[in-house]
């Protein structure tokens, strides 16, 4: 493996993804990420001269909706998915900037 993921890096990525990893999981994730970066390095080494850049795996573009209101008030159904609700809103821990 050419790419070695440091302990600091895996810690940082864990914080960004809000993941708490055990020591074994961290070691496994370091391996996996290293392998992925190796793969990307291999791709970067390929000769892509004359190959069109691909921005999507499907050869499809321009899938649109018209600007017409289609959805009615289904608040109760939406809120049924909320872990907690109050006064028609999703209830979350106190969040202030």
């Amino acid at each position: 493996m050419a790419n070695i993921i440091s302990d600091e890096m895996i810690e940082y990525v864990g914080i960004l993804a809000k993941l708490e990893l055990s020591d074994e999981e961290k070691e496994q994730a370091k391996q996996d990420m290293g392998n992925m970066l190796d793969y990307i390095d291999m791709l970067n080494g390929l000769d892509t001269e004359g190959v069109e850049p691909m921005s999507h795996v499907f050869p499809v573009h321009n899938v649109f909706r018209e600007d017409v209101v289609e959805n009615a008030d289904e608040r109760d159904k939406i809120l049924a998915n909320a872990p907690a609700a109050k006064e028609g809103a999703f209830k979350v821990p106190k969040t202030v900037e």
Partner: protein, 477 residues
Amino acid sequence: MSIQYETVIGLEVHVELATKTKIFCGCSTAFGGAPNTHTCPVCTGMPGSLPVLNRQVVEYAAAVGLATNCTINQHCKFDRKNYFYPDNPQNYQISQLYEPICRNGYIEIDTASGTKKIGIHEIHMEEDAGKLIHDEWEDCSLVDFNRSGVPLIEIVSEPDMRNAEEVIAYLDKLRLIIQYLGASDCKLQEGSMRADVNLSVRPAGSDVLGTRTEMKNLNSFKAIARAIEGERERQIELLSMGRTVTQETRRWDDNKEASYAMRSKEDAQDYRYFPEPDLVPVVISDEWLASIKARQPELRTQKLIRYKKEFDIPDYDANIITSAKRMADIFEATTAICGKPKKVSNWLMVETMRLMKEHEMEADELTFSPENLAKLIQLTDEGTINSSVAKEVFTKIFLENTDPEQYVEEQGLKTVSDEGALKEVIRKVITDHPQSVADYRSGKEKALGFLVGQTMKAMKGKADPQAVNQILKGELA
């Protein structure tokens, strides 16, 4: 010797587009609904839901790009910006990083030292977040996703501005262009236009940029001007004490007239953008672009030229009338009905402006109809009411969009032109004011004015002052 500093300012302006529905789902964007009544699985980030792009968002974004001299990227796509915050249900915002819809534009602003070009780095399309309401009772927060998924464009300027005046001129121009396009109402107070200010200072003459800060929560032009002054002073003070400016996001508190850092250092700003796999690329063909161009409405500069040619109103009037889209619309619609541009312009320039000032209103809050203003002009021109009554009636039109014909009828405000009735009143005024009559007859012209006034008062303002003047002179001769 103290160092002279130059301020360098760039703006990130978010504008809420005037579409009927959200950017990726068929939920309404209407204001004021009860919490979460305009939501669906897409805009609340439910697993398995898929976004579908609103065509009108592309049209509005391209229209704003064209009007600001941008190059339209005919091949553009969306990316995910990842961050955790309760107002963002997906834990990512769909935005555009790598291939935004517009690039490399500019607008021209008027400054004290002439016209200046302010560069536009890019314009991209993205979705708005929900709204957090703090609940004092339970010490928790409540999330309303009605705004989640409302379409925004973010207009990123180049760091071309040097002071608050230029920033305000830029925002004013941008707002006017977008309002004219009908792409947004651009109300700072209501948040349909939001400006973040990126500011740094550097020794005058240097061409190296200093470390910048980003300021948020600026809800009015006044707050923006104060925040720029405050941040400039804060940075200069740091530098002159030999300290450094930290690159950070700061929140402006307009009541305290101070800003404070919003995020701590541990809270890294690393958005890990990647291409949005749920949306396919947008390809704007030459034909589509041409049809957007063809539908561009007339902008202010073109309007000014046309007004001069078509309506023959003074430059000063044309300038003020076109300074707000709503005002220009009222002017044109009223003129189309009555065919008297100069009179329409006078009502807008004098009484409308006076009442707007008195009621602290903006032009886009004007609610009276062109039909009623046209009727009022007609009533005045044919002599049905005199000019002081007209002003009184206009106040009613301005405030309540009252039908002037009906109002004049109901309130009995028609000018009395019946000479017999007028003479009767005038004779009584003459009898009641012998001293003034004597004064007039002994050559004091002023006394006539007093007698005209008394007659008008007795007629409750409903007489033609010209006629009163003549009859009085005749009676006193």
